[in-house]
């Protein structure tokens, strides 16, 4: 990967970020006036106006935008109305939790999808294949919300082997990870299976078999390496989705991540939190895309990143 490539990508990402943040600024302001939400219903018009002045919401939108953009250049996202703290601090506390949650769920999904997808491909048409197919389709289509509540009911309330929710030691991660794991696992199994079947029927695999290579070696070295590329591409997209946090899962489990923060920020018209979260997520997505490209090149030397 050349420095030139990286700089070009960074420039495009910066342009996209400017467009994204500009639209975020205007769109979030179209959703309503936070003053009504933050002051008691009984507050007088004068008090409402005073708060608008204090927050600068009484000024022309363009003037607000110019100031906001200036602050943004210094990575100053302003104060969170709800948390009464700098939005940057709040977001930086939540982001690592989400990244860890997403990384664990996605890594597990990727690895297990390779195993299940490969086995199904090798046994294509057999009962194992059919079983994996049903399992993966169910996993890909089950709603996070339902899965979360069922997990709580079964593993926390009935068996009492996991906590219902919260944030702490490893046991607190099991259910949120399981919920976030399901959909990518289901999707990736289907992809790995399809591309493995294709690879196993390719001429280079037939040649390898003809030369007497062991079956396991054929599947996991020769075929898999070629079948991985589509899975890596999709995993990259899934990772980008995860960067925004599994909002519903984080809400159900009271997991202090960026998905929950963003949902709360939108509901509470906490402009600073919404904007800071969007910025953080966008930067993470940019980094993930670069990493996926690098991984792509590492897996398949024919792919040149430039």
């Amino acid at each position: 990967m050349t420095l030139m490539y990286f700089l070009r990508r960074a420039a495009f990402a910066a342009l996209a970020l400017v467009a994204l943040m500009t639209s975020a600024f205007f769109l979030v302001r179209l959703t309503g006036d936070p003053v009504d939400l933050y002051l008691p219903v009984d507050a007088s018009d004068a008090a409402r106006e005073a708060m608008r002045v204090r927050l600068g919401l009484d000024r022309p939108l363009l003037a607000q935008f110019v100031d906001w953009a200036g602050d943004l250049l210094r990575l100053d996202f302003g104060m969170s109305l709800w948390h009464n703290r700098p939005a940057r601090d709040v977001v930086l506390e939540a982001l690592p939790n989400t990244l860890a949650l997403g990384a664990i769920a996605l890594t597990l999904a990727f690895l297990m999808a390779i195993v299940f997808g490969s086995i199904a491909a090798v046994q294509a048409g057999g009962w194992i294949d059919r079983g994996v197919n049903v399992l993966s389709q169910a996993a890909a289509s089950v709603p996070d919300f339902w899965l979360g509540l069922m997990g709580v009911l079964l593993f926390a309330v009935t068996f009492r082997i996991l906590p219902t929710s919260g944030f702490g030691g490893p046991s607190y991660w099991v259910l949120p990870v399981a919920c976030l794991f399901a959909r990518p696992f289901g999707t990736l199994v289907q992809i790995v299976r399809g591309s493995m079947i294709e690879a196993l029927n390719a001429s280079f695999v037939r040649t390898a078999r003809a030369k007497g290579a062991q079956s396991g070696r054929v599947v996991f070295i020769h075929a898999l390496r070629n079948a991985l590329l589509p899975a890596v591409t999709v995993t990259g997209d899934l990772a980008a989705q995860f960067a925004g946090g599994g909002g519903v899962v984080e809400v159900v489990f009271g997991f202090p991540g960026i998905g929950k923060l963003l949902i709360d920020g939108i509901l509470k018209r906490d402009f600073a939190i919404v904007q800071a979260s969007i910025f953080a997520v966008a930067v993470v997505i940019f980094v993930i895309n670069i990493l996926v490209d690098m991984l792509y090149a590492a897996i398949d030397p024919r792919v040149r990143v430039e």
Binding site: G32, Y38, P40, A47, A50, W82, E93, R160, P163
Partner: protein, 507 residues
């Protein structure tokens, strides 16, 4: 090859899993530890922000205390940090303060602390919730007489000044004067131990508390959005008390429904035709089958309402009749109005707020069907809180559609003055009625005392419900709390605003 049966493998796995989990899971509560789960993280823990229930639930009478309290039974004023109070003249009240009280930072509680808290709460630059709501409209000026005596003067007559002081939580004089605090210092039985944003608030019993030491030493308050998860936490022992359980989740013997001081109603925008015709507004009330809604969409213990406050509030009028269900009469009234040229067939919007109470959307869908049956042309529009507030709060568009708005009104302060002026007078910023007779009645009642005050407020409630027909009263609402069976706690009408930690103990 050694074979292992599936059953044995499953048992072994389960045993291993349970063993691992027993290490990882939080221990069941000790006798002096308690975890309470609520819906939402507080916005602020500043003592001057306790007009918001999410904040006051944590602070009030736990971390911070006020001069007086209100009885949950009848709203009467009881002693708190003040031991006695009296009205000296129309504009002056005197409070005698409790001795031997210290703040958590070691500072003594005295008249200076009261004066500082009162000034701070009214500082417009701080925009305190208490100053913007409960103390609004009156200037309260404290005067320190001696360490144990404080006078509070007002610029206008304030007959229920002690009720208002019940809303003023008093923080240490060292509370910053130029900004809100996230580390409140009060005189209460608990001091704030830690606030882990997004996770929990921990309170620890204050060793030098002036009153009885509370049985619970460490209390943790956490928040979970999902009702099913909150309910499950009590089942698993992760929490001992969970608030606001949805009716569909609150079916166990540990679920206690309690009146939450809220009254659900529909506010009629009576300035816009056809709702400017009283017959049409009466028809709205007659078209709703309240009995059919109780125990189905609304909790079985909800009470049919005829006014917007509960019997515990001064001014409640027991003689206002509950609207009967009579779709035939409603249709007849609409026909008569139509014959007189009232545009009764015009579309009326029924604005609802998503999640204002459990089954909020379902309740309005049923009401829409009932109104349609009676001959109304009603369109339902469910709104998220922010756009709903735009419909609730003035100013409104002059060319707006005729509408009725789902809302609920709470009153935990024990006096009708906390409900009526803002919602039912011409100047009120959520009022859809502008009637000089009602304005006068509410103004006179607000200035009156004793029986006269009660009588005038009762008249005002009757005027709104029967003479003006500005509202469609629905129900006095209940909330469900799940309480672990080994915990002694009975939520009362104030439980929405106050978790009375010092009265909670294990059986």
């Amino acid at each position: 090859m050694k074979r292992i049966s599936l059953g044995k493998a499953a048992r072994t796995s389960l045993a291993a899993f349970t063993l691992a989990a027993s290490v990882a899971l939080p221990a069941y509560a000790d006798a002096d530890k308690l975890t309470v789960v609520v819906t939402d993280e507080p916005k602020s823990l500043d003592p001057c922000d306790t007009d918001l229930s999410g904040n006051s639930r944590i602070l009030r009478n736990n971390v911070t205390e006020s001069l007086v309290n209100l009885s949950p039974a009848d709203g009467s004023v009881t002693a708190g940090l003040a031991t006695s109070w009296r009205q000296i003249d129309d504009l002056t009240w005197e409070f005698k303060l409790r001795g031997g009280v210290r703040f958590h930072d070691g500072k003594p509680f005295d008249a200076n602390a009261v004066a500082a808290a009162l000034k701070r709460a009214q500082d417009p630059a701080l925009a305190c919730e208490v100053g913007l709501a409960t103390l609004k409209g009156v200037k309260f000026t404290p005067e320190v007489v001696d360490r144990k005596t404080v006078l509070i003067r007002t610029d206008i007559v304030e007959p229920i000044l002690p009720n208002k002081m019940a809303a003023l939580d008093i923080g240490s004089p060292d509370t910053p004067a130029n900004g809100k605090t996230r580390t409140p210092i009060g005189t209460g039985p608990y001091r704030l131990d830690a606030w882990a944003p997004g996770q929990s608030i921990k309170l620890t019993a204050f060793d030098e508390y002036w009153g009885d030491r509370p049985p619970i030493k460490d209390a943790t308050i956490i928040w979970r959005t999902e009702s099913a998860v909150r309910a499950a936490m009590v089942e698993t022992g992760e929490a001992q008390i969970a608030y606001e359980i949805a009716p569909q989740d609150g079916t166990s013997k540990n679920d206690h429904a309690f009146p939450n001081a809220e009254t659900a109603l529909l506010r009629i925008d009576q300035e816009v035709a056809p709702l400017n015709d009283k017959r049409v507004r009466e028809a709205l009330n007659l078209a709703i089958d309240r009995d059919g809604l109780i125990g189905t969409i609304f909790h079985p213990q909800a009470q049919k309402a005829m006014q917007v406050v509960l019997p515990s509030v001064l001014g409640y009028n027991p003689d206002i009749p509950v609207w009967p269900y009579s779709p035939e009469k409603a249709r007849a009234l609409l026909d008569t109005a139509r014959a007189d040229g009232v545009p009764v067939d015009k579309e009326i919007v029924l604005y609802g707020r998503i999640g204002i109470y459990p089954n909020s959307s379902e309740s309005l869908e049923a009401i829409q069907a009932m109104l349609t049956d009676a001959g109304f042309n009603v369109r339902l529009e469910m709104l998220e809180t922010s756009p709903w507030l735009k419909k609730l709060l003035k100013p409104w568009d002059k060319d707006r559609q005729p509408s009725i708005l789902q809302t609920q009104i709470d009153n935990t302060e024990g006096d009708a003055v906390f409900t009526l002026p803002n919602r039912f007078t011409s100047d009120g910023n959520t009022s859809s009625i502008a009637d000089p007779n009602l304005d006068r009645l509410i103004a006179d009642a607000s200035k009156a005392t004793g029986e006269e005050r009660k009588r005038l407020f009762q008249e005002a409630f009757k005027y709104i419900a029967v003479d003006a027909v500005n509202i469609v009263p629905l129900f006095h609402m209940v909330t469900i709390a799940r309480v672990a069976s080994d915990v002694n706690y009975t939520p009362d009408v104030q439980a929405g605003n106050e978790i009375k930690l010092k009265s909670i103990f294990y059986r």
